[in-house]
Symmetry: C2
Subunit: 421 residues, 2 copies
């Protein structure tokens, strides 16, 4: 271990801890002012941000990163404005800190309040998309948490330029810079320190990135993690599905955006309706340019359908590819999802309320939908405002992670001299 | 690693996982029936339980365990009846599973429900008190979680006898035995497997025991932990405290029961009221048989007061000993608690609302009380029914951990064909 790096990271940790104390007591107006000023700084600093991003992009092209990665990395006028607007949207969210989540009075007169408080210091480890710097920093600030951001090396310059705008916002509002810190090195050891060498400073780790990052975090972390595993999402078209609705939902769930975690990856069709429903569903997908990988029955519908392998049922394509399987009704769909799914987001299309209820109860996923596209798996679409991701964990936060999910609570008990018998 | 042990533990894990699926769908009546039948089995099996406990006690005396440990280990008619009654009390708790924690409708017509679901499989590692077998097993059952119980070797026979009664209850209700399993070996490697070798089976670990157990769990666990660290609890007597109330609360907080985590360990007295308040508070404690360790000012009150050392401020005595320090007002009290406390339960006694509000906001503990004894730090006293402990973590559950805190949630979304724009 590099002693200088360790010192550096511990200084970041100490600054975060000190800032966390101040931030936990900051009022909403102060936090919102910091966010508005940061948005303004992003707009006035747009040229600097785009110049830094151009350097990152040039470096990424030299390293021959994929087109998908380059797209994730690239900023432009519209994306910079969206970042600034995103900060302003977070101003509009209700401040969760200090709100009373529950309250009751005991027979002995004790009044008990469950009050939301920040988690403390959050470490966020992310890749490629530089807008995460602004989004995640702002969500942590609004929820009263100090944050240590560790972006990917490919977006290093962009992240620094964006982070400078956030710091300008903090300064304008009189909040310590330690509220939002960016790890100033791309040394991979820094990630290891965040995961296991800074337990006295960091309360929660949020990984945002690909499978290898998530796997490393889950293996090494010595602090709680809000994990975001893959979204191997399913749409099950039941025998009682309205065909037009099913076609509309399947197309949207798969193809509206293929690269998001709520995109459908597998279509399950009830054997009882294949005569009427299967061919239109498959032809819609093929005609929209989607590759279809199916079982033998599905392949019989159209010669363009390729043979699905066992691996396909497990695969999150994040691309215009879908696996399609015929199943023997809702229980077989539930069993398929239990075996192959990732407990992220799954949907049933049916007009039968009892069948829907069975699916919604028995599919053990963070989000289960009836007659709606899986692409609604999103904090904004849920009305929670911005999100830091979709948790596939069961512990603490499940589903969209917004400002409320970034809080803990404490009990405030008010008495008049009560002692326990 | 012992291959046989590994096989054994994996069989337990598989049985728990299968039981968890069944249990997550079990209705309240079925779970309550299992609990009532288990209570009946404990009553009819009392002689067997007491005989097993007598063997444990004899063995413990041979090993020369302390009187405190022997007391924790010992069962008698009254304690067995309390266990049975405890199960019946859990029948009376509201079943959290399937309840709607929040619901709202989006402008596009999507109805979103946040529905409570079980966490899954819980591993509980505990020491000495055999009643934990019944309490923890029952709380997990009510909250729809399968549980793997690992008790201490000192209570091995007692735990087995109690566990047999729980299994009788499960069988009577038609629930799988895998719902509540007791690790059938005292091999310490079994704990290691639960912490890090069974991540595909165990969703959460709850340690209930001393510091060395908690430290091991926090070091080794590869699954989320609901931690229960020590309760170094404070009572701060402010300049505006009513003296009679302060005396009553301090005596109760320290001495009602000294061995529980909510017992006060340090008394802080505002310098501004030492002329009136300090001597009566100290004399009360000394006359009640409590050892007092104080700073120089406190020692000036009574010659029986011993000198407190730096270590005393950090110490959870769990005994009739209290550390007493004079502080310069509420902010000094808050600073003392932040530095020396364990973020468990802390109390201010004052008639000044503004001072109380400052203390309640700034002391970052799971439970903060105004004018009430710290001994109320208890799920039952909070009206939550039985508890599995008091969490000093910030993540997922903080404070008393009852059936509601043993749940996760999922989002159920109902639409009418909505697709995302």
């Amino acid at each position: 271990m590099n002693g200088d790096l360790s010192d550096l990271m511990h200084r970041l940790g100490q600054a975060a801890l000190a800032a966390s104390d101040a931030l936990s007591l900051a009022d909403t107006a102060t936090k919102d002012r910091a966010l508005r000023e940061a948005a303004a700084a992003i707009r006035t600093g747009k040229a600097d941000i785009l110049a830094a991003n151009a350097q990152d992009l040039a470096h990424a092209r030299e390293r021959q990163l994929t087109a998908a990665l380059l797209d994730r990395l690239e900023l432009n006028d519209k994306r910079v404005e969206a970042m600034a607007k995103g900060l302003e949207d977070i101003v509009g969210l209700e401040d969760p800190i200090g709100t009373v989540a529950a309250q009751w009075t005991r027979p002995n007169g004790l009044a008990i309040l469950r009050v939301r408080v920040p988690l403390g210091v959050i470490g966020i480890i992310y890749e490629s998309r530089p807008n995460v710097t602004a989004d995640a920093g702002a969500l942590c600030l609004k929820s009263g948490n100090a944050v240590i951001l560790r972006g990917g090396s490919e977006s290093e310059r962009s992240n620094r330029a964006i982070h400078a705008c956030l710091v300008a916002g903090l300064s304008a509002a009189g909040l310590p810079e330690g509220c939002i810190q960016l790890v100033p090195t791309t040394d991979r050891e820094a990630v290891g320190l965040m995961l296991s060498g800074m337990t006295e400073f960091i309360d929660v780790i949020v990984p945002r990135g690909g499978k290898s990052l998530v796997a490393r975090v889950q293996q090494e972390a010595r602090v709680p993690v809000i994990g975001h595993l893959e979204g191997n999402c399913h749409v099950y078209v039941d025998r009682d599905a309205d065909l037009a609705m099913a076609r509309s939902i399947v197309l949207n769930a798969k193809l509206r955006r293929t690269g998001i975690c709520g995109a459908a990856e597998t279509l399950l069709v009830d054997r009882a309706c294949i005569a009427t429903h299967l061919a239109p569903l498959i032809k819609d997908l093929l005609e929209a340019g989607c590759e279809v990988r199916g079982d033998d029955t599905v392949r019989g519908v159209d010669e363009r359908v390729r043979a699905a392998t066992e691996a396909d049922w497990f695969t999150e394509y994040l691309d215009a590819i879908i696996a399609v399987r015929v199943v023997a009704g809702v229980d077989a769909a539930i069993a398929h999802i239990a075996h192959y799914g990732s407990a992220h987001t799954d949907c049933i299309v049916t007009a039968n309320g009892a069948t829907a209820a069975r699916f919604l109860q028995r599919v053990d996923s963070a989000i289960v939908l009836h007659n709606a596209s899986t692409q609604f798996a999103d904090g904004g679409e849920f009305g929670m405002g911005a999100e830091i991701g979709i948790s596939t964990d069961r512990f603490h936060a499940r589903g969209p992670v917004g400002v409320e999910q970034l809080t803990s609570y404490k009990y405030v008990v008010r008495g008049s001299g009560q002692v326990r018998a």
